[in-house]
Symmetry: C2
Amino acid sequence: MSSTRDVIEEYCRTLEARDWDGFAAVLAEGVRYEIPQTGEVIEGREKYVRFNREYPGEWHIWPVRLVAEGEHAALWISFEVGGERVHGIGFFTVAGGLVREISDFWPEPYEPPAGREHLVTRAAVR
Amino acid sequence: MSSTRDVIEEYCRTLEARDWDGFAAVLAEGVRYEIPQTGEVIEGREKYVRFNREYPGEWHIWPVRLVAEGEHAALWISFEVGGERVHGIGFFTVAGGLVREISDFWPEPYEPPAGREHLVTRAAVR
């Protein structure tokens, strides 16, 4: 049986390659995908593959950090679409070599609140 | 030497307890904290403790998920401030029992783009 790390690496590889059969093969039939920021939930392998297949634009994913432990993994990616890059973060549950649950986050740039200028420097937003 | 998981659990415990000496004790002197969404960077233990100590409002943290592997950890928290809850996600590097680097994300609620209604259901934003 594949390790959690192996499964998430294969998830990334097949997603970037638009290898939809390979991508489906790392998902449990009842996989549950959620975006807590919007409340959106997608249930089931077929719908979740379709969601990714239909995602508009010329997009690419660049893994930044993968942390895997037991049945859990956290994946930080740089997601490029239309020449722009945003951060994406997924928390995964993997069992039996298949992805069972994904909680996905898409944090956007924002202006820092006032009052902490004495503690921070500003690098480029990235 | 404490495991990466132990270190992050102690980080959470001391932060929630406002135990600033205990919190400082899990940080490397040269700890680097960044918020990629704003470009803010805080360097050094003293400034980073002060940043947390001075953080305004009546706030609490509730760990949702911790994934630790080797020198890396990912922590998803529910952060409550002023009666509202937001998600916070940190990617940590830990070495020698001390936190060396933190990349922190604060994803906010947003309206989902049109075009995927045929695949999603909507739960409450949380």
